[in-house]
């Protein structure tokens, strides 16, 4: 999923301060799974904002809505009926959702309430870790299902570097050396000879380096 974390309250307060009526929009997908912007978090943020402004002696109007997703125009359309009663929108979705709302409701200021972080997976309850960088040309089949582009601090395709220490990356003992993980996995799969195949330089054009990307399905797009 796409992971995110709520912005510090002070930053959110600064963005909505000039407005009286806020539409606070959550998302039922990724940010719900990583407990950053789903229905529960919308409730908590609404309460927190209200209380903050009350300590300054004023109350604001916050309408709480959680959409199924904010990255599909059909769902974003559901906000239309509420727009007249809002001065600004505060979105708890990832950057994709915030932008879709801004695209549809051009005359309303839209602010992000979370910092979108990475594409990742849940390691265990409450812990999410980066797994994918969207390079556009997946090589997981060659590395035992573990990605060096997302998980090596230096993006080495022919790692490890000389800083790998007891299975940890040189930058921190909290960070696994992914090449240690890949090597262990290749061994477990009986694919150790793969290790000496040199992975050629990556074509970054399929990734963000080639410009902002689009997928068009001719069978689906009119």
């Amino acid at each position: 999923m796409i992971t995110a974390e709520r912005k510090p309250l002070e930053e959110i307060v600064a963005s909505v301060k000039p407005f009286q009526r806020i539409l606070l929009v959550g998302c039922n997908e990724c940010v719900t799974v990583c407990a950053a912007g789903g229905r529960k978090e919308v409730g908590l943020l609404a309460s927190a904002l209200q209380m903050h402004f009350m300590t300054e002696g004023k109350t604001i109007d916050i309408k709480e809505i959680t959409l199924e997703r904010q990255c599909d125009p059909e769902y974003v359309e559901e906000l239309n009926v509420h727009m007249d009663q809002a001065d600004a929108v505060l979105s708890m979705a990832c950057g994709c959702g915030v932008q879709e709302i801004a695209r549809r409701y051009r005359e309303k200021p839209v602010f992000p309430a979370v910092n979108t972080k990475f594409m990742g997976a849940s390691e265990r309850q409450g812990v999410w870790a980066e797994r994918c960088q969207g390079c556009g040309d997946c090589l997981l089949g060659l590395t035992g299902g573990i990605c060096p582009i997302a998980r090596c601090s230096k993006r080495l395709l022919n790692g490890p570097c000389g800083g790998s220490t007891t299975g940890k990356c040189e930058i921190s003992p909290e960070v696994d050396c992914v090449w240690q993980l890949i090597w262990d996995r290749l061994k477990a799969l009986g694919m150790q000879d793969r290790y000496e195949d040199i992975m050629p330089a990556k074509n970054w054009q399929t990734g963000r380096g080639g410009g902002p990307r689009k997928i068009i399905r001719e069978d689906l797009a009119e």
Partner: protein, 308 residues
């Protein structure tokens, strides 16, 4: 001969080669470069110039190499993949060769986390092994990585780093094999204090005949103080400093520590001379360059071969 490199000539002649290092200054101070390099004249075959080492900005390795070349000495251009993409690298290699620089070291580079610009983007367009392949292709096929022809292709003698002390140990010989496959001519190892482990690695290297494909220069760094020994043991990733070495340094009074460090250093070189497959030494005396001549002499490596 693949190149005009003096280092290649020394190695080809069967002599043990000696290289050392110059860290460029944190400012536009050409005289500092000249001072350091001058100390090494006549005692080494080539001088590495580091590239933003430990991710701290310094005068570019390319510029410092040009200064050293103009002094009539032989620089080794160190280049890391952390700071530039394949276009910039190929351009710098052409530029360096145009100034007569013919030997280089292809590295990944320390993570910016440790340096003075941790907010900087890590480039790593290619990694050190793909880098070696690229420079090899420039020399042997006269082609850019993108496929186009190079007018007067650079003939670089290609070096890489090897660290027998990083983890996982079982991969460290395979790693050298990969670098050899990519086209590496010589490697300089991480500084050696655990000679047993190094000899174990060398055995693995010899079993695969890699010592005949790649010239191995054993890395040596003299300890200045017991504190330095402890720091390198505990705080530097990929470094193996056995307790005996720390104890030896700590066992002498403060005024004698430097002398003891040089002693250990020379003893190591003497022992490593006997190890089959070791083609020379890379003496890294960081901020202690003035000791290199003494080490080279005491280790019986002076004078350097002439008329090659």
């Amino acid at each position: 001969m693949k190149t005009e490199s003096r280092l290649e000539k020394v190695l080809a002649s069967g002599n043990l080669a000696v290289t050392s290092e110059c860290g460029p200054p944190r400012g536009a101070l050409p005289d500092k470069v000249r001072e350091k390099a001058e100390m090494l004249r006549g005692y080494v075959d080539a001088i590495n110039v580091t590239d933003n080492q430990t991710a701290m900005v310094r005068m570019s390795s390319f510029a410092a190499c040009v200064i050293i070349k103009q002094m009539g000495l032989d620089p080794i251009l160190q280049m890391v993949t952390r700071d530039r993409n394949r276009l910039a690298m190929q351009a710098d290699i052409l530029g360096a060769y145009a100034h007569g620089i013919d030997t280089m070291l292809c590295l990944s580079g320390d993570h910016p986390y440790f340096g003075d610009h941790p907010q900087a983007m890590n480039v790593h367009d290619i990694d050190s092994i793909q880098f070696v392949q690229m420079v090899h292709q420039m020399r042997e096929e006269g082609k850019f990585m993108g496929g186009g022809d190079i007018l007067n292709p650079p003939k670089m003698f290609i070096g890489a780093a090897a660290n027998p002390f990083a983890d996982p140990f079982e991969l460290r010989v395979a790693r050298l094999a990969k670098k050899a496959k990519a086209g590496t001519d010589f490697v300089q190892t991480q500084c050696i204090y655990n000679l047993d482990k190094f000899e174990l690695w060398m055995k693995g290297v010899r079993d695969r005949g890699l010592h005949e494909k790649v010239h191995i220069l054993a890395g040596i760094t003299p300890m200045k103080t017991a504190g330095m020994a402890r720091y390198m043991k505990n705080k530097v990733p990929g470094m193996d400093v056995p307790d005996e070495v720390v104890d030896r340094m700590a066992g002498v009074p403060k005024e004698k520590m430097a002398e003891e460090g040089i002693k250990i250093c020379v003893e190591s070189i003497q022992r490593l001379k006997e190890v089959k497959g070791v083609s020379g030494f890379h003496i890294m005396a960081i901020e202690w360059e003035q000791k290199v001549p003494e080490i080279v002499e005491k280790a019986g490596l002076y004078p350097r071969p002439e008329n090659l």
